[in-house]
């Protein structure tokens, strides 16, 4: 298993090409990496990039933040994402919305179903209380500490880290409003996103804050991205809801003025 990002991405080791076979030709890859448990990564992706995250061993948790690469003060807005679409549980077809009423990325495929938009990522305070340490370089890093590093390398400070979403470790809310941690769907589950704008992607792979196991568990996350096509008006997703259609129209309006297709 690759321990470092492939450079160039098309040189992703042959041992892993079987994973890619049938999905994408190696020469279209723009990001190919295995993020260790407790690790982080980041990349600036063009509009129309497919980003596939895979929980290789069953205990990955991909905490995700997205920013408009042109003006990173426009960024993922979790509250608008769940409110506008009337749904807190992420699934294929979900639009990840910015605070400007635009679509940063769409969730186009999901074989996990165990995701969370409510609880975000862990803090150093919480991980220190739970595991004895939350530092980025320690054995039980807090997601916010990992985001702080990933963000800093894109010119972002702690002030720029808003609420996040996470994939591969689920939470469900009961009738009284209490959360229940449902864990992962097992090894091999994947989530595929499609970028609808040029975006900065920050990923922290660390235990979900509500993971109820006493011992810290965080296993490798595979990240593959390749050049592809954004959603167009011909795609059923464009018109899947009136709110979503208006978000795609807002996005197209921005991109046209910005000179981006």
């Amino acid at each position: 298993m690759a321990a470092a990002p492939a450079r160039p991405a098309s040189s992703w080791p042959a041992a892993d090409e079987a994973v890619v076979a049938g999905v994408v030709a190696a020469d279209r890859l723009v990001w190919a990496e295995t993020v260790a448990g407790g690790g982080y990564s980041h990349k600036v992706l063009a509009r129309g990039t497919t980003l596939r995250l895979t929980d290789l061993a069953g205990d990955a948790c991909a905490h995700l933040l997205l920013f408009n690469a042109d003006q990173p003060f426009e960024r993922l807005n979790v509250a608008d994402t769940v409110k506008v679409q009337w749904q807190v549980y992420a699934a294929a077809g979900q639009l990840l919305l910015s605070d400007q009423g635009r679509v940063l990325a769409t969730v186009v495929a999901d074989s996990s179903g165990r995701h969370d938009t409510i609880y975000g990522t862990s803090t150093a305070v919480r991980n220190t209380a739970r595991y004895g340490d939350g530092a980025a370089q320690g054995a039980t890093p807090a997601g916010r500490e990992l985001f702080a590093l990933a963000g800093a390398k894109n010119g972002l400070s702690r002030r720029d880290l808003p609420p996040s979403v996470s994939f591969f470790q689920g939470v469900r809310i009961d009738d009284d409003g209490r959360p229940g941690f449902t864990g992962s769907a097992g090894a091999g589950a994947s989530v595929t996103l499609r970028t609808e704008m040029p975006v900065i992607v920050l990923i922290a792979n660390t235990a979900h804050p509500l993971d109820d196991r006493a011992d810290y568990a965080s296993t490798p996350l595979e990240v593959l991205a390749w050049a592809d096509a954004p959603t167009t008006p011909a795609d059923p997703l464009w018109d899947a809801s009136p709110e979503g259609r208006r978000a795609f129209v807002n996005t197209a309006d921005y991109l046209a003025a910005r000179g981006l297709k």
Binding site: V88, L97, D99, G120, A124, R159, D176, L210, R246
Partner: protein, 216 residues
Amino acid sequence: MTATATTATVDFGAELSRETVAARAPWSAVLTAGQVLTIVDLDGNQAIDFLAYAAADTARAYSAQATLQEQDSVYLSVGSVLRDNESNPLLTIIADDCGRHDTLGGACSKESNTLRYGLHTWAQHACVENFLAEGSRRVLGKRDLVSNINWFMNVPVDPDGALGIVDGISAPGLAVSLRAETDTLVLVSNCPQINNPCNGFNPSRAEMIISAGATS
């Protein structure tokens, strides 16, 4: 402190100030550690959008996610500790006449209004406008706006994950009281939304009372 603590049963100490916030208007203040802010829904069924920051370091903004991680409910009520994004306490809810408040739905904005209600609502006033205008007087900007609290707003999470914004469970004169655990800047938007039931389709006044805190 119990789950039945209301603004009628808890001692907040001497009253220091009392201000009425007009319908649709913003408001802000710095609370000294120990002081109590009581937010009154004067006319009833009014959502009041709320953010908080550590006064000494405004990068430490309120975090809905860090707050919910440390309690066993997705709703806010008495005993909820409102935490910053590093999980340090900013404020504690010490009295509540309403029973349940939202921190999932965020604030309305002109931009999200175009998605929810259509482009024709673009010209309408919105909470993010209030947060930006009032925040700019406190050296806060767009980067500082994060998921907020909606006092007096009822946003249930259904078993299938559906998120509703339904009729308020508040009434005229009901209030919620927050004790500052550290010096805290609070930023308020008296919600101007007229396209859903969060304000009963009629934005109304709020009252902000700052008290010295109980001396015991």
